[in-house]
Amino acid sequence: MSLSNEFRDPDLCRNLLEQIQHLADTPFRFMEVCGTHTVSIFQSGIKSLLPENISHLSGPGCPVCVTHDSEVNTFLALAKEDVLLVTFGDLMRVPGSRGKTLKAAQADGARVNVVYSAFDALQLALANPSQNVVFLAVGFETTAPTVAATLKVAAQQQVDNFFVLPMHKLVPPALQALASDPEIRVDGLLLPGHVSTIIGLEPYMFLAGDYNIPAVISGFEPLDILQSILILLRMHKEKSSAVINNYKRAVADQGNPRAMEVMQEVFKPVNTAWRGLGDIPASGLSLREKYQNFDAREKFNPAPLHTESNPGCKCGQVLKGKILPPQCPLFASVCTPAEPVGPCMVSTEGSCAAFFKYSL
């Protein structure tokens, strides 16, 4: 049997589910911290097939959802400057403090371009030399090296009309914040596959070593996820904890040292605020001195609106796994994918949006 058949084979899925059901004789709560896992677990039907004893929580795994109000307000303030804003499409509908979005700013005359790659943003700057171009740099460790590589090219070519607004977030410090919060009880963690492609296994070791939390790096196919849940459950039952790489076809244990080197050459870790989780030490990235002339904050000094959280929105508690989306008073009433109030409903990878779309 070929490997691909094994990964989607219904009999194998059923077999894994039976093993999970057999082991799940006590409550077990696992959390994933990757929007692609969130969507895959709902879309594949795994959510509805898991035994009642197993609870699935979606943690802070969607970069759009964890972007803090103050950051949203900062880029909305930048939209008022004489610049061409360039962004991944994900940010277009994220509401700031007064419900304003980039899409609304665009309707008011702001110039906002959606691109697929940070490098496309640099090419826009090269094609429009008289125009200041600002790229909104969101994303975890998967995305940050692509922005760093783009900035290295911009520096080599001495481009003086290209800037970035760094809003990157790092996954391991957020996991540390979750693991050390006594109010959050998680029995196992599904670790994000493509973040791990870059950072490898080592940055997660503290989860098992310091907090006794079993953790498994997982791929995104149904069998990847079921198998990872089973490994977590086994460790939980045996009261053992380890960090295991269950996505070896895409993740080397040492990660991608070349990408890490590029990221570290351009960026340095800084404290940053996460929606829902608050300030977390060394969990964001800012530009190193050599690259500071590309920093949109320094160049334009945007004055953000005062941060006012959206009344009633419980995205923060959803992101910590303290409540499930339907427990938010706004869910599916005033907050829907068509008219989102909070970012967890805006992003297709947000847990509220996934709940709304896939739950019966």
């Binding site: 070929s2 490997l3 691909s4 990964f7 989607r8 990757c34 929007g35 692609t36 879309q43 969607c62 970069p63 759009v64 991944f88 994900d90 697929y116 790659s117 940070a118 490098f119 496309d120 969101v138 994303g139 975890f140 998967t142 995305t143 090296p145 692509t146 760093a148 590589a149 290295k152 090219v153 994000p192 596959g193 493509h194 973040v195 492609t197 870059i198 196919e221 076809r249 895409a250 080397a252 991608n256 040292p257 070349r258 990408a259 590029v262 992003s347 990878e349």
Partner: protein, 76 residues
């Protein structure tokens, strides 16, 4: 947002690879890929950059998994 897709390298010019999957062609940069791929290799692509090389066998296997989800015939 960390979605990444395996694509086949069709040709390479300097630091850019022409890649293809299911008839979709794209150009990706090789600045941060773990090792420089050869034509015929599969690379995991995210936001216009190759992140990592897969060997051909692994790439084909991973691609086959996406076929069902996308309803496309990616591999002939």
């Amino acid at each position: 947002m960390c979605l990444a897709i395996p694509m086949e390298v069709v040709s390479i010019e300097d630091n850019v690879a022409n890649v293809e999957v299911g008839g979709v062609k794209n150009q990706v940069r090789l600045d941060i890929v773990d090792q420089v791929p050869a034509v015929g290799d599969f690379v995991i692509v995210h936001a216009g950059f190759a992140l990592r090389c897969l060997d051909r066998q692994e790439g084909l296997e991973t691609l086959k998994l996406f076929q069902d989800g996308l309803g496309l015939e990616l591999i002939k």
